[in-house]
């Protein structure tokens, strides 16, 4: 019921916004157009565009900005509706150094159900190595205890095929839950290390 109300309110907002934009575009009344200017404007520079074109361009720019703003608001609302904060689980992945591991793919299981299988291209792996953090999964979970297992495949030390897993048991509370898969180098052992961090 609550969700329905929110959807209806979004639709009403969108209609009102579009109506407002349409009103903004309507020309001024004929009287205003017919009224003579109080002072004669200075003659335009020879290279400058005519004032009508300038105002039209400004209006187009304004409309574009309105559309971008509206799109942003709709995206945020969509995220809130699809992944409400009380059930939201977001999973991120980061990689540090990467001397002992070249990432190829990640498979994520939550409560023994596969929720994501991601293949990495060379460019994406490079972006992670340069400090990028990727949101690999966004979903919904009920409040309570859950288990997340992540399997990492790639090339390990000495170019060998490498597959490792990491597990975390976590409590999903009322708020959003953020987890991070971290791949780091364990230098003393010349091995990669896989961890899952729970961002409280």
């Amino acid at each position: 019921m609550n969700l329905k109300h929110r959807i209806v309110s979004i639709a009403v907002c969108a209609v009102m916004l579009s109506a407002g934009m349409a009103i903004g575009q309507t020309p001024p009344p004929a009287d205003a157009q017919a009224a003579p200017p109080a002072e004669t404007p200075p003659p335009p520079a020879p290279d400058a565009p005519p004032p009508e074109l300038k105002t039209l361009d400004q209006e187009v720019q304004g409309l574009k900005k309105d559309v971008v703003d509206l799109n942003k608001d709709l995206f945020v609302l969509q995220e809130e509706l699809l992944f409400p904060a009380n059930t939201q689980v977001a999973l991120y992945i980061s990689m540090d150094v990467g001397t002992f591991f070249a990432l190829d793919s990640v498979t994520v299981k939550i409560d023994n159900k596969e929720v994501k299988n991601y293949l990495y291209t060379a460019r994406e792996a490079d972006a992670l190595l340069k400090g990028g953090v990727q949101q690999i999964y966004l979903g919904n979970l009920k409040v309570g205890k859950h288990e997340l297992v992540a399997f990492f495949t790639g090339k390990g030390p000495v170019e060998r095929d490498y597959k490792r897993g990491a597990t975390i048991n976590f409590d999903k509370g009322v708020g959003a839950k953020y987890l991070e898969l971290k791949i780091t180098d364990r230098v003393p052992k010349h091995q990669p290390e896989f961890m899952i961090k729970d961002w409280e």
Binding site: S105, L119, T121, A122, R123
Partner: protein, 167 residues
Amino acid sequence: MRRAVLAGGLSLGLAIGTASLAAAPSIVGKAAPDFVLRGLDGRNLRLSEFRGQVVLVNFWSRSDGDSRQQMPALDRINITYQRAGLVVIGVSVDEDLRRSKEFAAAMSVSYPILFDTGTAIGKDYYLQKMPMTILVDRSGVVRYTAVGFRRGDERVYLDHIRELLRE
């Protein structure tokens, strides 16, 4: 009476046939559905990473004779036009990955061959018959699709490729 029934049946059949042809979905003019697949050399390739280049995606099957005929022609196109900004990608849709890899290795084409053993990409591209060839423009929009292959079809591909490369 029989003639009337026969004529009615024929017209109904024609109508159904026309309706099914008209309803055949097409992705021309739409954004090319993105995919990432593992290649013969073990590297993963993502279609959207070739944005800015003209991409020819060729879905093929080892068991299909037309696919076997088409691959050398696509190889020649790739060798000639890759420096002009064309990327040719072959996608095997065979379920038997091992045999498909063996076949691809034996063909030894100059362009990357990827392997799709799932069904999601086939659904996204409305794959029905092999081979299927798709041309994606620099902005990632599907501009041309061709199903099947006959000798001389490569000239049609080239006309479209040259046009897209000029854009």
